[in-house]
């Protein structure tokens, strides 16, 4: 089972990524995606990263976390503070680095004791962690308290955003398909059975949690530099719920689903924008409707894969489905 990096599968994915990148870049150049829509484009990218990273924790490992926005805020504030000192790409890079280190330490400390909890109790504990992070940020001087940090230099552009998003998705997909990922899936399916098979469940749960937290921290940094202003209230429980909605809406365990859900929700946001107040009512009703009629999410556990693209004659139906998702 020798695998080279440049096999047919990876090259095809690369080609698809390049095509998407070029098409969107052309649309931006042609002003079809105006700066107004670019905000949504960046929103989609950031929330795709967040969705995928939370999906690793919830969908793949089966550990219910409601504190994901907390780690996002660590990344966002690290980047923002550093960018205020050094308003250039070095600052951003150091900011992301600092965010990763803090997120690593915090998520590790949090994960060790709390991941012994199960189901709803874990959800509440992580909810508490997210709120504690928010309250600490709210009371620190370096983060400027409740008024938050404003005038953060806008350094992000489409190529950079795209590279980060693709890297995050590729990393997560590799995580899911690696030995660690398989151990995580077995924990989700049956924790006791996988423990009996000799899997160190605590180790893999912590690994998945830390991995998700790190990606969320990167997404937070990207958020800080694309939206000029960050406030503690941006990263409250509401935001954690938004990320959770993306994961469940797309399908738990399906990374493709999270990406699709981020895109769909981004587009719905744009379409409903003129309706102002009515927007949230429709959004809420849609949420309820989808859960009633399709509780497993848009894609269930389906993943887009290249091998099903290659022998598309036998999988013609699947091909059209996958083709639609990529478009």
């Amino acid at each position: 089972m020798k695998q080279t990096l440049l096999n047919k599968k990876n090259l095809t994915w690369l080609a698809i990524a390049i095509v998407i990148f070029v098409v969107v870049q052309l649309l931006i150049d042609a002003r079809i995606i105006s700066p107004y829509y670019r905000v949504t484009l960046f929103w989609i990218c950031i929330f795709a990263i967040l969705g995928v990273s939370l999906n690793i924790i919830i969908g793949v490992t089966g550990q219910f976390s409601l504190g994901h926005a907390g780690f996002m805020s660590i990344g966002a504030y690290s980047a923002a503070v550093l960018l205020k000192m050094m308003p250039d790409y070095t600052g951003l890079a150091i900011g992301i680095g600092v965010g990763l280190v803090i997120s690593f330490v915090v998520s590790f400390i949090v994960a060790m004791p709390t991941l012994r909890l199960k189901g709803d109790y874990l959800a509440i504990a992580t909810l508490g962690v997210g709120e504690i992070i928010r309250i600490i940020i709210l009371n620190m001087t370096i983060t400027n308290g409740a008024s938050g940090i404003s005038n953060i230099p806008f350094l992000v552009n489409w190529p950079m955003m795209f590279v980060f998003t693709v890297l995050a998705i590729a990393l997560s997909a590799n995580f899911k398909n690696s030995a660690i990922g398989r151990a995580c899936i077995s924990i989700k399916e049956d924790e006791i059975a996988s423990e009996a098979m000799g899997i160190n469940t605590t180790k893999y749960k912590v690994t998945a949690f830390v991995f998700g937290a790190l990606l969320a921290s990167i997404a937070g940094a990207l958020y800080a530099t694309s939206y000029y202003v960050i406030k503690p209230e941006t990263f409250g429980i509401t935001n954690s719920i938004n990320i959770l909605v993306i994961v469940v809406f797309g399908g738990m365990g399906s990374l493709t689903g999270s990406v699709v859900a981020a895109i769909v929700l981004g587009i719905i946001n744009i379409i409903l924008q003129p309706l102002a107040e009515l927007r949230m009512i429709i959004y809420a009703l849609a949420l309820i409707g989808i859960m009633i009629f399709r509780p497993q999410g848009l894609l269930g556990t389906y993943e887009a894969s290249i091998s099903s693209l290659f022998d598309f004659k036998s999988h013609f139906k699947r091909f059209t489905k996958a083709g639609k998702e990529k478009a």
Partner: protein, 292 residues
């Protein structure tokens, strides 16, 4: 000492509000294992219905309280039938997301109908200040405390002494077995939602009177706190929710009284996490043995 007793009084009155909301959370969780995120919004709905019945229909306090509880219970039944009943058989996370959807819906529909402006609650209760041994007790605090205790007592009576209460307890233990014994499970679940919603509504109108204002987003933070309270005392256990509610209220007032207001929520969450780690099923919860 006087300062301590004063904080105790304040803590108990806010704690009784948390306890009332926490009861609804805990009852619903005990029966269908759903974290009903929309429960905090039932409290908000209660405050608004209370506002309407006091300002538009000019009802006196106790009539307003009762009519608010009845109306909110009806809304609770409606929500349960439309949004949660179709999801009885699906995964719990789908039900959780639906609850979040219901919560968003209620917040936005209320702000659409009533406008996002903050209404002032008329003072339907005369606000007298009693001074007992140097401790200031507000007559409103007294009403809140007494009403909450009376409602909790009533609930305990219903759950422990009546036939429907026995049915509720049996559904909480084992739904299928209860169904086999002839309990109408759907009925019991609906009733649980109704009772929970009406308790939250009572909390809503009491808070409306106490703080004088209502707004569409008022349910979120107390809802979260009440939920923490329910977990704190052992979710699914009714006395646990009361103990949890009072504890959270007391912790909060003491932290803001002796420490910093800014950190009161953080302290509440830290204590919650510690309790979960030491005793995951909450203060009164029984530890279940893991079976293969």
């Amino acid at each position: 000492m006087q300062e301590f007793l004063q904080q105790l009084v304040n803590g108990l009155s806010i704690g009784s509000i948390y306890a009332l909301i926490a009861l609804g959370y805990t009852m619903v969780y005990g029966i269908i294992k759903l974290i009903n995120f929309a429960h905090g919004d039932m409290y908000m709905i209660g405050a608004y219905i209370g506002l309407v019945s006091v300002t538009v229909f000019k009802l006196p306090f106790f009539l307003a309280l009762i009519s608010t509880m009845v109306f909110t219970a009806l809304i609770g039944i409606l929500i349960e039938r439309i949004a949660y009943k179709p999801l009885r058989k699906s995964t719990r996370v789908a039900a959780l997301i639906t609850a979040i959807g219901v919560s968003f819906f209620l917040q936005n529909i209320v702000s659409r109908i009533m406008g996002a402006k903050i209404y002032t609650f008329p003072s339907v209760l005369n606000n007298e200040l009693y001074v007992v041994g140097g401790i200031r007790i507000n007559s409103q605090q007294l009403v809140i405390f007494v009403t909450s205790i009376a409602l909790m007592f009533l609930l305990q009576l219903i759950v422990q002494k009546t036939k429907i209460g026995r049915a509720m307890r049996s559904v909480a233990v084992d739904q299928d077995a209860a169904r086999l014994m002839g309990v109408n499970v759907d009925h019991v679940i609906t009733l649980t939602f109704a009772i929970g919603s009406s308790l939250a509504a009572a909390a809503g109108i009491l808070v409306g009177i106490y703080y004088n204002t209502v707004n569409p987003l008022m349910g979120f933070a107390p809802g979260l706190k009440a939920f923490v309270a329910a977990v704190f005392g052992g979710i699914g256990i009714i006395p646990g929710a009361m103990i949890g509610g009072f504890s959270i209220g007391l912790i909060e007032t003491f932290v803001s009284g002796y420490g910093s207001t800014l950190y009161k929520d953080a302290v509440v969450y830290i204590i919650l996490i510690l309790i979960l780690i030491v005793k995951p099923s909450g203060l009164l919860g029984k530890n279940k043995k893991e079976k293969v």
